[in-house]
Structures are given as C-alpha cells and as structure tokens.
C-alpha cells in the first residue's frame, strides 16, 4: 500500500511542479467535476473557449467526481497564486477550508453548477449555474400535471450527499408539500447518476411496488433511461408510467417523442460554462457581481420537443 509519507512526498512534488508554471496575464484555476462526462465536458469546453476569447489563461484540473482530489486541487490552486478560482463543488462542506485559504491569499473564488451549504457563502464571490432546487420544483409540477395531481411516485436520486441530488430531491418533495397535490412518494433510492445502477434499482422498485408506481422522477435523464429499460423487461406490453428526467439529453428528447418519457428539463452546459468565466472576468476587472446568477431552465414535453435544442 502507499504509505502516508510517500503520499505526502507525491503531493508536495505535485504542488512544486504546479507552482513552477509560467506567469501570464491572468490565470484562472478551474477545478471541474470531471473531464469525461456528458454534461461536464461541453461545459468545460465552453468555458475554455470563452476564456480564450477573453484572453484568460485557464489551469484546468479534474476531480473525476472525487471530493478528496478536489480539495487537494483547490490547495494547489492557492499555492500557485492564480488570479481567480472557479470551483465545481461535489460536496456541500468539504471545500470550505480551501476556499478560506483562497480568501486569505486574496484570490476571488466562485462556484459553478452546483451549490454548497450557506457556510461557504462568506468565502465566495458568486455562484453561477442552474438552480437545482428550482429544477426539482419544476419536475414536481411537470409530474403533477402528468398525473392529474394524484398518484404515487418513486424517486431515483443521484449520489447521496451530493449538492445536485439534495437540491433536485428537496425541491421536488417540498413542492409536492406546497401544492395540494395528492402525490405520495413511495420510496427514494440512490443510483449515483449511473444508468446500470438505475436499471438495477428500478428492477427492484418494480418488483416491490409493481402497479402502485403511477409516476417516476429521475434526477437525470441517464437514470430515467435505466427505469425505462427495467420497465420494458418487466412489462413488455404495458406502457410505462409518466417519467420526468432532468438535463435534456438527446436520447431523452427521442424518448419524449416516442412517449417513453413525459418530460425533461433542459439546462445548457454551454451557458453554464460561459456564465462562470464571464462572471470571473468581471470580478477580476473589479466589477461587483450578484452572489447568485442562474442559467435559464426549460421544461420540455411533447408540446415543445421539436422547438427546443437538446443540451448535449
């Protein structure tokens, strides 16, 4: 096994290597969620392209969905004394010490795409990206409409403890409570935004609840696809209950056209990436920015599926 000591050495080496970079006009450290992901990749590309237009140097680091990796990368950014930090948080709390260090070093930091807890507020200039809580609310309204305000649903959630999951589930359940809809949540299961895991948990949910399931809410379109496949296996001849996803992937648009899915919510990764770097550019120019800058969300159903562009 790797000893603690050698890990320290490796980290130290990495920091030294990283800090001997070349100085340039303005360097922004971009700690992204992952560099090979259906949503994150186009967002990263859009951010990079925009930075090129603005003449900003981007130091891009990928966490590969590993929070621990991300906190270390954040420290690397601070050690390099960059001019700004754009962080894609995967955890509501873990990055706070790193953000505090960035603040001490007078490096402005903003969050992209995912929220953090309110404890992080003093350390960041702004949070740009989709409002995941709002997405949950829109999903609740959409599913409620599909069910005529009455039914029992299952929620296929993303990773437990991930900000996006918390927002998308919380917004959904809170909205159901707010409205007088008679919709019961049978169960909420985590499938980590993974299609295979969603397929496996959906099989179990269908076994457990069978015909009780009158609607499905999946935290993203990938997991919605998992439920559709599981339903087809179990009931080849029966139409699936209305399914609401989020993200607006191409294949979800296809599923909406063929009535396999009821709706999805489009958030554009390109706008997500651009807004973050634009905001950072304004901050570095000494302008004041709002502490919350959302990107537009569109609910896509069969009515407007041909008028809206899929996100990716």
């Amino acid at each position: 096994m790797i000893g603690k000591k050698s890990m320290l050495h490796i980290t130290a080496m990495a920091v030294i290597l990283a800090s001997t970079g070349w100085a340039s006009a303005k360097t922004v450290c971009y700690v992204t969620a992952a560099d090979s992901h259906a949503y994150a990749t186009p967002a990263n590309k859009a951010l990079q392209a925009r930075a090129g237009e603005l003449g900003i140097e981007i130091l891009s680091l990928s966490q590969d969905f590993d929070v621990q990796k991300g906190t270390e990368q954040l420290n690397t950014c601070v050690a390099r004394k960059v001019d700004g930090i754009i962080l894609w948080p995967l955890d509501p709390q873990a990055y706070i010490p790193g953000l505090a260090r960035a603040q001490q070093a007078n490096i402005p930091a903003i969050l992209i795409n995912s929220p953090m807890s309110d404890d992080a507020k003093p350390f960041i200039k702004s949070f740009t990206g989709p409002d995941v809580y709002e997405e949950g609310k829109l999903a609740a309204d959409s599913l409620s409409k599909a069910l005529g305000g009455k039914g029992s649903v299952v929620i296929i959630a993303g990773q437990a403890g991930n900000g996006t999951t918390i927002g998308r589930v919380g917004g959904f359940t809170d909205r159901l409570k707010e409205t007088s809809a008679d919709i019961k949540v049978l169960d909420t299961v985590n499938a980590d935004f993974d299609q295979q895991k969603a397929l496996v948990v959906s099989r179990d949910l269908i076994t457990r609840f069978g015909d009780q399931i009158s609607g499905v809410y999946a935290n993203d379109d990938t997991m919605a696809r998992g439920f559709i496949d599981a339903w087809k296996e179990a009931n080849p001849s029966k139409a699936a209950p209305p399914i609401v996803g989020i993200n607006g992937q191409k294949d979800a648009f296809e599923s909406i056209r063929t009535n396999e899915m009821y709706s999805t919510i489009v958030q554009s990764p390109v706008e997500d990436g651009r807004l973050a770097i634009d905001t950072m550019a304004e901050i570095m120019d000494g302008k004041e920015v709002k502490d919350r800058l959302p990107i537009p969300l569109t609910v896509v159903t069969k009515d407007n599926v041909n008028a809206v562009e899929p996100a990716f």
Partner: protein, 332 residues
C-alpha cells in the same frame, strides 16, 4: 498418491484444516450456504415479491455483469496477486470500444477487438506484477489509470451511444427464458471453474499462491502463472464491459467505476483467501450470490442506501477477519 503428496496437494481439495476443529471445518465448507439460506428465508418473510421467479431472475441478471469479473478476480486472489484495481479501465475499454467501433467494423469484430485490447491492459499488468515484481495494487492502479486516460482521450470524454439495434436485442434477449447475459456468465464461470479445479494451470495457480518459493522450486512457471491471472481478469472484464455497453446502448469512461470493489467483496466474502493459495470459482460466486441477495432484500425491505453500505462493510471486515483467524488454526 503417497501421504506426502496428499499433504502438498491438500489446498487443491478445499482441505484447509488438518489441525482445525471439526466445527470450523464444517462452518468453512457450509457456512456460506447457511448464510444464503438465511437471507432467502428472511427475504421471503419480509417481502412477498422476493421469492418470485421475476425477482430472482432480476438478481441473477444484475449480478451477471459483475459475476464475469468475479471469475477473473478469483484467479488473481488465488495466485497471490492481491487484487486487480484496473477493472474499471478494462470494463470501460470493453464497453466504449464495443459500441464505438460498431459503425466502422460491425458489432462482432468490435466486441472481439474491445475484449482483445482489454486483454492487452491485463498483459501489461501481468508483466509488471509477475515478471518485474511490482506490488499488484500499485501496478494495476497505475496501468488502470493510464488505460482509462487513453480510453477517455480516444472518445473525447463524452458518452458513446450504440447504433446497432440487432446487437442490443441480442444482449438484452433471452434464450429458453433465461437472459443471454446470465447464460454467458454461467458459461464463463463453468470454464473458470474447470480451469481452476481440474487443469494443470489451476494447480499451478494454487501452488503459486500457496507457497511461491516452493512452487518455483517444483518447476512451476510462477511468473507466467501470476501474469496469466491478470490477463484472465482483464479478458473477463472486457467481456463484462462489452455486454454492459450492449445492454445499456451507451457507455461513458467511468462506466466501470466501483466494479473492482464489488468483485473483490464477492470473492473475499466467498472465503477465497486474500493472501492466496486457497479458493475456488463456486465459492467466489456463492459470495457474490450472498452479497447480491442481501442487497436485493435490503432494497425490497426499504433499507436506506447508507445502511446498505454499512452492512456490506461489516461483511467484508468479517470475511477478512475470518480468513486471518482460520489461517492461524489451519495449516494454510
């Protein structure tokens, strides 16, 4: 066979306890069977849906993908190779290439090529571990990371979609009412079992893991045996990834994340020794069945995800602790 020969080939006949008590002997052979039976009884008790053909078929289908990896991983553990952490990379290689190459060369050659390239990753692992003598954990972690990086770069870091409905139909299809993936898994498990328990290669694998220097002195090609275990695992993972890609009709580079630990969990819970020299494919699969049934019962019972992880963690620690305790009492 003389008595002395019996002593040395003992490991081959699951005869792990020549000095242990009779009770330990019975428990080690049948303990897992009892455990599976207990889970089945409990499941039938808490959920009427549990003991139905549909549900059990679901469990079988869900475990087949990781089951194929388990067969390979058994060889790695038995040969004393600790663990193969490059599984996520080899699964991704199988899934992404078997879908991505379809438009160019057709589904069958794409699948074969994907598995072959996964095998190549295994060969690199094998050379580093078996011939160069690098610690398997480090070597497979390194090679796996490199392999995943290459795969990611090759597809530009996005999702690859399948475009051959026929191959999807085949992978999702059923033969005599049994899903095709299950049949493929059973076939691979059978081959793995025969090789490990009835062939010279299996005997060499057990000998290498049991006592490396003694095996070397007895003219067993220990380096090749160790390397071979990693090639077998990589090929199995490649097949597993290819099937995963075909059934999902989409693959992303992180598709195989977590499978290495699911496979190691199953093998260890099945009572295959983590230090090598003892174990069999049926044992590992029994471990897998136990873990999968337990997870299924927990889901049907409405146990929260966090608690499920907690239970599985306890299982792993218990199984490894048991291995260590039995080692002290037995002769292995």
């Amino acid at each position: 066979m003389t008595d002395a020969a019996m002593e040395t080939s003992g490991a081959n006949r699951n005869d792990r306890f020549t000095r242990g008590s009779r009770l330990a002997d019975v428990l080690s052979k049948a303990g897992l069977g009892f455990a599976i039976l207990a889970v089945v009884l409990y499941g039938s008790f808490v959920s009427p849906a549990f003991f139905t053909t549909g549900n059990l078929l679901n469990v079988l289908t869900s475990m087949s993908i990781v089951g194929i990896v388990v067969v390979g991983m058994t060889f790695v553990l038995v040969a004393g190779g600790l663990a193969d952490l490059s599984v996520p990379a080899t699964i991704a290689c199988g899934a992404i290439l078997s879908l991505g190459l379809q438009p160019m060369i057709g589904p069958v050659p794409a699948f074969v090529l994907a598995v072959a390239l996964a095998g190549l990753i295994g060969l690199l692992n094998g050379v580093l571990v078996g011939y160069v003598g690098i610690n398997p954990i480090i070597a497979t972690l390194g090679i796996g990371t490199i392999g995943l990086g290459i795969v990611q770069a090759a597809v530009g870091g996005v999702i690859v979609y399948g475009n051959n409905p026929a191959s999807a139909e085949f992978a999702k299809g059923r033969l005599f009412g049994v899903p095709v993936v299950v049949l493929i898994f059973l076939l691979i498990a059978l081959i793995g079992h025969i090789v490990l328990s009835r062939s010279f290669w299996g005997r060499w694998t057990l000998a290498t893991g049991g006592n490396y220097s003694a095996a070397e002195a007895s003219a067993v090609p220990v380096e090749a045996v160790k390397a071979g275990a990693f090639v077998i695992t990589a090929l199995a993972s490649g097949v597993s990834g290819g099937l995963l890609g075909l059934t999902l009709q989409s693959a992303r580079p992180l598709i195989g994340a977590g499978y290495e630990f699911s496979a190691i969990t199953a093998v260890v819970v099945g009572g295959v020794s983590i230090i090598g020299g003892f174990g069999s494919v049926p044992r590992a699969i029994a471990g897998l069945i136990f873990v999968q049934l337990l997870t299924n019962v927990m889901v049907l019972d409405g146990v929260r995800t966090a608690i499920q992880g907690f239970v599985l963690g306890i299982l792993i620690v218990g199984a490894v602790g048991m291995d260590a305790a039995l080692r002290k009492r037995g002769v292995a």
